[in-house]
Symmetry: C2
Subunit: 394 residues, 2 copies
């Protein structure tokens, strides 16, 4: 049994509900913080729980290199390895290896690449990406796709889409044959990760899914017709959820919006829809109101480490001298533990003095802001009212 | 009214009790974690509270340069600036400026030095060190002393001790004339720092002290007779507490022990005794059992950031490959949040991958280990029994 989306309210094309996973329920639409190497940089798992994070994204490429899938598998999978009892999604590694422009070679078989760490040679194919993701054991894993570059001409976009479709079939075939090998398969799921404080949340009526789920990815460049074809043919292969990939790769924002909206029309309305790598607070609020259920982005965490903070009054660069003696909270409208306790002056001092705590506190605030934004959107969908204050407008 | 030591039990020369400060009570003997720039690197204030930290040490030299005393003073003092409602002690800056060997010039008036950050020229005198520490507003502040280098010949050690004594008189004079200028003086003390969760703990009977306290520092190099003279003449000047300075500067450990023990004999038994810059877990346990009430050291926090962890089974370097697939807790005998939740394999991965969380979690564990060591020693003194397991032996 795969993950399933339990829709509880809709408003236009937007919907809110629960994604039921082997590691708990996830309120949707959801923003998934990025924990590249099995850690959201600087934030301990208990703080993530307190923030209300119900699903994390981890990067297969990075974990494949360090600590390696065999280590994670032997430790019982990523949940147990990082002591995180809630849901996890892994990407396929495709996006990262395609980003290694000078270090990779693509063939129909897969992608040969060199590690960005030490130049060591590696190979990822659809089958290998499945093997690795089964070993990591996330609740949701992603098909190994080719992220079409931008710009790409029609011929190139079609060829890339066809490659992704062939790979999707191979991914599904390998996954179906090997999914029982997940490290927490069978009774292992009932063994709680050591010391986790999270309460398993089970529906009274229906049992939790007890296996990983593989999502397909729609490509097709910036061509609406190719996107439709990619969606139709990916759905024909058949997955329990679908992602929209290949966006936020340098194209204008209006084009992203256009492609997302036209692709959404072709995705099954009763299954989860995941927009990959998006985005700003305005974008996640907008796409959640357009019918997207899941999003992820490094922006809140990466920006935090550079002192860029999201607030109800807009972006704020904490490094600025104007905050040196500012006693007010970072965001007076925010109820996160950082805004409730510390002043802008203190946060500015920590950042200027290059204190570790700056990165920790800034990340906690930005994640809270993103999660609160999604909470507000969910409330709005459920209530059928216009967005309350607090939802950024795009 | 100054801080005072309320001794509740003794065992030989060791004693346990409470140090009553304007910002709460501190169980003694106490280890004070170092928060150089107004932050214990990587650890948020709520975690410090949860660890049971009752007093922090902050460094005047570093805060003097960044963010500067005027900023901290305007923000209401260091407690309010960093949102820390419990006790704080600041050093005088003397130790740091003397460490700037090539960047400082000592005269009877004070020390001219250049910032290690940008080479800008500064001057600290006894009066200036008091002015700065009054502006920072710690509960306990330290006299501006000369930390005699090791080795030093008899003439040099005496000259240095005499300088420290002259400076001690000037510190006391300035402090007595200006101590009312502390930013939280008078009613400000009753205004709680924003968002602090700490509960003020007041004795039912006696009111909390409402002013800063200035401690004197005993110097005298490695000469027991000079140490005696320094102690006597510092006591003649008169302070509410006394520190032993100028140790852990490169001398053999047996010599440190000898000087500490001989100096302790000359310090008033009813006042707090503070051994500066010490030490390893074995040393803090040993000196607490010798009659020292307060200690501080960067070792637990600095070592943590380098992957060196203190456990009930000895030191452990988490970077070692032998821990890559070790599912056990860092210290199976430890009840800290890190040992309760994460495996050595995960901590080793975080460290090897240079993840921020490694520094955060390692620091939390090491601080817990130091604080637990002191809790065990306090229990031992109170119970009149031999140290339970868990107290490192020196």
């Amino acid at each position: 049994m795969s993950v399933r989306l339990q829709i509880e309210a809709t408003r236009g094309s937007a919907r809110t509900g629960k994604l039921i996973t082997p590691h708990g329920e996830v309120e949707t639409p959801v923003f998934m913080p990025v924990g590249t190497l099995g850690s959201v940089k600087g934030v301990s798992q208990d703080v993530l729980e307190e923030l209300g994070v119900e699903i994390l994204l981890a990067n297969t490429y990075h974990l494949f290199l360090r600590p390696g899938v065999e280590t994670v598998r032997k430790m019982g999978g990523l949940h147990r390895f990082m002591s995180w009892d809630r849901a996890i999604l892994t990407d396929s590694g495709g996006f990262q290896v395609f980003s290694l422009t000078d270090l990779r070679k693509v063939s129909d078989e897969g992608v040969a690449f060199r590690s960005h760490l030490d130049g060591s040679p590696h190979f990822l194919s659809p089958e290998k990406a499945m093997e690795v993701q089964i070993g990591l054991g996330a609740d949701i894993i992603m098909a190994f796709d080719e992220c079409t570059e931008y710009p790409a001409d029609g011929q190139r976009a079609r060829a890339s889409m066809e490659l992704t479709l062939r790979w999707a079939e191979r991914c599904k075939k390998y996954f179906e044959e090997h999914k029982r090998e997940v490290p927490w398969g069978g009774s292992a799921l009932r063994r709680r990760p050591c010391g986790s404080g999270a309460t398993p949340r089970l529906d009274g009526a229906e049992p939790r899914p007890h296996a990983q789920s593989l999502f397909g990815i729609v490509q097709g460049g910036m061509d609406r017709e190719l996107r439709r074809e990619s969606a139709d043919r990916t759905i024909d292969i058949g997955f329990p959820g679908y992602a929209i990939g290949g966006l936020s790769v340098g194209e204008p924002r209006e084009l992203t919006r256009d492609i997302v909206e036209s692709t959404l029309e072709h995705l099954p309305s009763d299954q989860p829809r995941y927009l990959m790598g998006v985005g700003t607070p305005e974008e996640i609020a907008y796409y959640a109101q357009s019918g997207i259920d899941m999003m992820d982005c490094v922006l809140p965490t990466r920006a935090a480490r550079h002192g860029l903070l999201f607030t109800s009054e807009g972006k704020l660069s904490i490094k600025q001298a104007r905050y040196a003696q500012d006693e007010s909270a970072l965001d007076p409208a925010c109820d996160c533990r950082v805004c409730q306790r510390y002043s802008r002056a203190y946060l500015r001092h920590l950042y200027a003095a290059n204190e570790l705590l700056a990165q920790v506190l800034n990340t906690v605030h930005n994640l809270h802001y993103y999660l609160a934004t999604m909470r507000t959107v969910r409330t709005w969908i459920r209530a059928g009212r216009a967005p309350a204050t607090g939802v950024p407008r795009m």
